[in-house]
């Protein structure tokens, strides 16, 4: 099973029925897999905070939801994460491409990578970092944890995890 298929299979296993995505080169394979998956309603969003709003609504409507985004967008989601997802206590797995880490070809991306974990830490969002492919074996338990504690949880996946660009 490809890593993309494994990630989507874990989402399905945990009954995630709606996923919002914002385009990402690293996560393109997962996004394509979600598009093909009959058990997941895929809603492409124009901006990450919009996607989190849709996820919040879907969760209240009875469908577990998740978002796929880049760490560079963390800044635009801070208000939504704090005053919607956390304030109303809703679970939200965030599968995030960790741009700007080892292997990054674009210097500007490094600037946000430097702040990513500090921001997530400041927001008290449990954060996992997938560096080796075997790290993805934890996704199953991370999803279980997210829906248990009703919190947003960040899963950072770096270039080494995706074996380059």
């Amino acid at each position: 099973m490809s890593i993309d298929a494994k990630i989507v299979a874990d989402l399905v296993k945990h009954e995630v029925g709606l996923v919002t995505t914002v385009p990402c080169k690293q996560l393109a394979g997962v996004i394509a897999e979600i598009d093909r998956c009959e058990d997941i309603h895929h809603i492409p969003a124009n901006k990450e905070d919009e996607g989190i709003g849709i996820c919040a609504g879907a969760f209240m409507g009875g469908k577990r939801s998740a978002i796929i985004m880049q760490n560079t967008a963390l800044g635009v989601t801070v208000n939504t994460l704090v005053t919607l997802t956390q304030f109303y206590r809703m679970p939200l797995p965030m599968l995030i491409s960790y741009r700007g880490e080892l292997g990054e070809p674009v210097a500007c991306q490094v600037e946000m990578a430097v702040h990513t974990k500090a921001l997530l830490n400041q927001l008290h969002i449990p954060t996992y970092h997938f560096h080796h492919e075997s790290d993805a074996e934890e996704l199953d338990r991370i999803l279980q944890y997210t829906f248990m504690c009703m919190k947003p949880v960040a899963i950072l996946t770096d270039a080494t995890f995706w074996k380059g660009y």
Binding site: A45, N46, G53, I54, G57, G61, S65, F87
Partner: protein, 187 residues
């Protein structure tokens, strides 16, 4: 008519439906006029009433009305193409367009100047967009509820606010009772 008059005129129609209401005065006014578990009050995240409502509509089968404002839609413009391209026929987006940012002191919005939100929604691909005057909003809402088609209503009204108190209900309580009512309605 100002926004609170429009809300009052809609109560007999929307009271039995699920409503996601915009941050600030719209939520406070709805809370004062007709508080009930089927209302989801936004206490933060300006701009996301339409996104949250769309998410609720996509996840289950009951009708969902998002009550939004012109200023909030301008804040989250990307929502209109997303709504247009992910049609939920149980979703109605009501934009109460008073041409001002009411909750922050009635500063003018571009919707009250040159920008037509109805035309923007149409250009984004929304197929069923109706602009109306405040006096006709209830009739338009009734037709939209009867039509079983995703509808965007842009209701033009005057700016102005009434004195209302803040919502003190715990957000988790607001969310939980809304979810419970939805679950029961879908059972």
């Amino acid at each position: 008519m100002i926004r609170s008059d429009v809300l009052r005129s809609l109560l007999p129609l929307i009271s039995d439906h699920f409503v996601v209401c915009n941050i600030g005065l719209p939520s406070q006014e709805l809370h004062m006029l007709d508080d009930q578990p089927t209302n989801f009050y936004m206490l933060g995240t300006m701009g996301l009433a339409s996104s949250i409502g769309l998410g609720v509509a996509l996840a289950q089968s009951k009708k969902v009305i998002s009550i939004d404002g012109d200023g909030s839609v301008l804040t989250n413009f990307g929502t209109l193409p997303t709504i247009a391209n992910n049609v939920a026929d149980n979703f109605i987006l009501l934009i109460i367009d008073n041409g001002s940012y009411g909750s922050t002191g009635d500063q003018p919005t571009y919707a009250g100047m040159k920008t037509s939100l109805a035309k923007v929604a149409e250009a984004c691909g929304c197929e069923n967009v109706i602009e109306c005057q405040a006096e006709d909003c209830a009739a338009v809402m009734k037709d939209a509820l009867d039509s079983d088609r995703m509808t965007v209503i842009v209701c033009k009204c005057e700016s102005g606010n009434i004195p209302v108190s803040v919502i003190k209900t715990d957000p988790v309580v607001i969310r939980d009772r809304f979810m419970t009512a939805l679950k029961e309605a879908n059972a």
